[in-house]
Every structure is written in structure tokens, then in C-alpha cells.
Symmetry: C2
Subunit: 258 residues, 2 copies
């Protein structure tokens, strides 16, 4: 088993770049999965693990040892101090996987699609992906202004949703809207109809805007439905992850009634 | 106008403790509101601001200057380096308010109540409070294991919800459940009925469990309704903020139909 002691090691240096910078993830088309939960989810979804990095303590953990065995990858041992510099987890589990970022899915023209128009907080993007997976969304498209889909923080908040969703990053949402078969429904705060008065079954593209500015003017202009979530007087808005959950599950509820 | 240059200043030292430690917030019954949005929300809700701390740059911002004027409090100037050590915001707005933490509300026995049973992530607690305010929840009760309601992170994620909600922290949820007039509905992953098959109008206490363990065994034993959110096969769970939003807005939807 190879053991990495030095920060000058080529694999360590690659991993360090991938953990820290979007541009390196884009250039290498690789990312890191941090912790047993994500690695298990990737293995469940039959993803190819290219490298496994473990600490000596990690290998003593039966869960880590089991995942190493399942992966059929010979792990690389990493000194704990080096490992820690690659992990954002408050208590690292001692297991990291290096994987290739898949190509974008083919853009859909039908189904239930979720468009993220500049959602910037990694925790929000991850939580929304998790909800989309649970709700059975057919495709999630993210504009270039969104948090990086394959960053450690988004992966962590996504809790494995990345491995089961049909994803398109750096998507041209305007072009998508022009070609989509069903209505484009944008969540807005003004000039919009009550979510619960709208029909949300069949082909539908739901657009969620950024935390600060909401849906961009160009996308709002493409929307055939402008939806709003009813709120108590004096309340300005909801967290975008909460708003996405409310809208997507109203789609689920209506679809199940059909 | 008083100007604080030294980290030995008593007001600065107090604020530093309040920003960092729950035990100091509990002992002093005070906390800090960081940034123009929270200070504006507190003033809108007629909260008493005890002190305002501003940077020289902050005072040049018309929004800050307007809030200082509205508050009728003579601000204390703080050197930017000292100010920065009190703020968690990536770009501090240059305005902090010192306020007293209100006493717990009287525990309700009726209405729509939300019980947080060990929700630990400050961002989740804040987002849930924001949703609860929008949905018109009558009271939110937090067990002692929850993230500190009055911490800077929860306040920030709450976006002002703290000032409009009826709140009970360090609540005895079991005692609440024994005295509450309506059903106690716990969100569970197993042995539970579909959310959309349940009647969620009238007096209702909705229990959301912790991120890792869910609803505690003692609370689950008190629940007269066990609810689950329908999810695609293979998906384990939702973010608790998303789950709370889905459940609370199903209450809103059903209540509006009555």
C-alpha cells in the first residue's frame, strides 16, 4: 500500500487543488468525495472510484474498511495532517475518493425540470439537489452563476443526490426555455399567481432565482407562469432551499392526485 | 460620539463575548445583531436597541446612517479591525446592535406550533424560523439540544424572523406535548403515514427531529400522528429545513382550503 508523507507528492498536490479551486476541478474534470456517506452513495450508484485516500485511523473504522473492500480499489495511505488539509468535515471520517466529474446530461425538452438561476450558496444548492432527487425531478440545470456543483460543500450538502440526478451545469437557461415543451414557471415575489392556484402537472420547468436578486430579468421574461408562495404580511421572502422544497412538493402532490 | 480604539474597552469586550459564546449570551441575556438587514428588521418590530456600534466607513453608508437616525441611539464608533472581529459577515456592513434577548413566550396549548427536537445546524434553524414566520406558525419551541436561537449564525439565517415569531427556547417538549390540545405530529422516516393523506388543520404541533437522529424516542412515543414525506425509492431523507418547509406549507395549503 502506497503511503504519502510529503506535501510534494503528486497525488496529494492534485487532491489539494481539487479540494480548493473550481478552476482545477474544471481543468482536470475530477473532484473529491469526502467521507463515508458520499463514498457509499457513489458506490451504490456504481460510480467508478479512481483513487481512495485513507488515514491509518480511517482504516481501523469498519465502515471505511468495508467501503474500501467494496470499491476494489487499493487505497493510498495519507498522513493525518495531510488528510486534514483536504477535508472540510469538522470530524473527518478518514476516507476520500477521487472521481471523474461526469459529462453534462443531454438537455431535456420534457418532464419536470428544475432550473437554478444563480443560486450561490453551496448549502442551498446541495439541499435543493437533495430535495430534487427525493421529488423525482427529471433534470436539474444550473446557470454558470450558481455555486460549483462539484465543490466539496455542494457535494456534502447534496448527501449523494449528485449520483442519482440528471444534471447539467453551466447551462444556457435561456436556450433551454426556448426549446422546452411545457410551461416555464418562475418563482417571483411580485406580479405572480398563488402557487396553490396553479396547475403544476405534466411537463414543467421550475425556475428558482438567486438568494439576493431572485430570477434574472431575462429568465423572468421567458416565464409563462409567475408563481409566488403565500406568506404572512410583512414577511419578505423564504430561504431558496425552503422555497424550492415547497414548489417541488406541490408538483409531487398534484401529480400524485392525477 | 464615543470612539473605541482598544480591545480592552469594556463594551468591546462584552460584545466580543456575546459574539463568541452561548454561555455569555445566556448570562448577560444579550446578543448582537449584525448588519443592516437585521437591525432594520428589529427596528421595524419596535425592538429596543441598547447600543449601536458602527465603523467610520459604515456611517458613510446612507442605509446605516438612516438606521442610526431611526433608532434614536447615539452610536459608538469602533475601529474597523475591532469591528471585524465581532462580525461573521463576509463583507461587514459596518453596523452592529446590542439588544436584550427577550424572555420566553408563554407556552401555548393551541394553534399551529412547531417543535424543534435537537435541530443542530444554525443555518437550518434560521431557515426554519424564516419559513415558520412566512407560514404563520403561532409558536416555535426549541429543545435545549438545538443550535442557540440567539447566536449570530441563527440570527443571520433567520433574516428577521426572530422579531416576529413567538419563541420558546430550552423548551421542555415532552411537557408541552402532554398539555397540548391538538395532535402531536412527528416527521418520521418509518412506520408513518403519507403527509398528504393526513389532516393538518386546526390545533397541531409539528415535531422536526435532529439532522442525524431524527425525532427523539421520547417525543416519537408522544406523537399521535407519525408523518412521512413521500420520496423516490433509494432516497433516504431530506434536509430538515426543506422537510419543515414542505410540512408547514401543507398545513398552510389545507388551512386555506377550509
Amino acid at each position: 500500500m502506497e503511503v504519502i508523507h510529503s506535501p510534494q507528492n503528486a497525488l496529494y498536490k492534485l487532491c489539494h487543488k481539487l479540494a480548493a479551486h473550481r478552476r482545477d476541478r474544471l481543468k482536470q474534470k475530477k473532484t473529491l468525495l469526502d467521507g463515508t456517506h458520499l463514498v457509499a452513495a457513489a458506490l451504490d450508484a456504481s460510480w467508478v472510484i479512481e483513487k481512495l485516500l485513507v488515514t491509518p485511523e480511517g482504516l481501523d473504522n469498519p465502515e471505511v474498511a468495508g467501503l474500501v473492500k467494496t470499491s476494489a480499489v487499493t487505497p493510498t495511505l495519507l498522513e493525518p495532517a495531510l488528510f486534514k488539509s483536504l477535508s472540510e468535515l469538522p470530524s473527518p471520517t478518514g476516507l476520500l475518493a477521487l472521481v471523474s466529474i461526469p459529462d453534462n446530461a443531454l438537455v431535456r425538452k420534457q418532464g419536470l425540470c428544475l432550473l437554478l438561476d444563480g443560486v450561490q450558496d453551496p448549502g442551498n444548492v446541495g439541499s435543493i439537489l437533495r430535495t430534487a432527487a427525493a421529488a423525482g425531478v427529471d433534470q436539474v440545470l444550473l446557470s454558470d452563476q450558481c455555486a460549483d456543483l462539484w465543490s466539496p460543500k455542494v457535494l456534502r450538502a447534496g448527501m449523494g443526490a449528485h449520483f442519482v440526478l440528471d444534471l447539467v451545469e453551466r447551462a444556457d437557461l435561456l436556450q433551454f426555455a426556448d426549446q422546452f415543451a411545457g410551461p416555464i414557471a418562475a418563482l417571483m415575489l411580485e406580479d405572480a399567481q398563488d402557487l396553490y392556484a396553479a396547475t403544476l402537472t405534466g411537463d414543467l420547468a421550475l425556475v428558482m432565482g438567486s438568494e439576493g436578486q431572485g430570477v434574472s430579468a431575462d429568465m423572468a421574461a421567458r416565464a409563462s407562469l409567475r408563481l409566488t408562495i403565500p406568506m404572512q404580511p410583512g414577511i419578505e421572502s423564504l430561504n431558496v432551499g425552503a422555497a424550492a422544497a415547497i414548489c417541488l412538493y406541490e408538483c409531487v402532490r398534484q401529480t400524485r392526485l392525477r
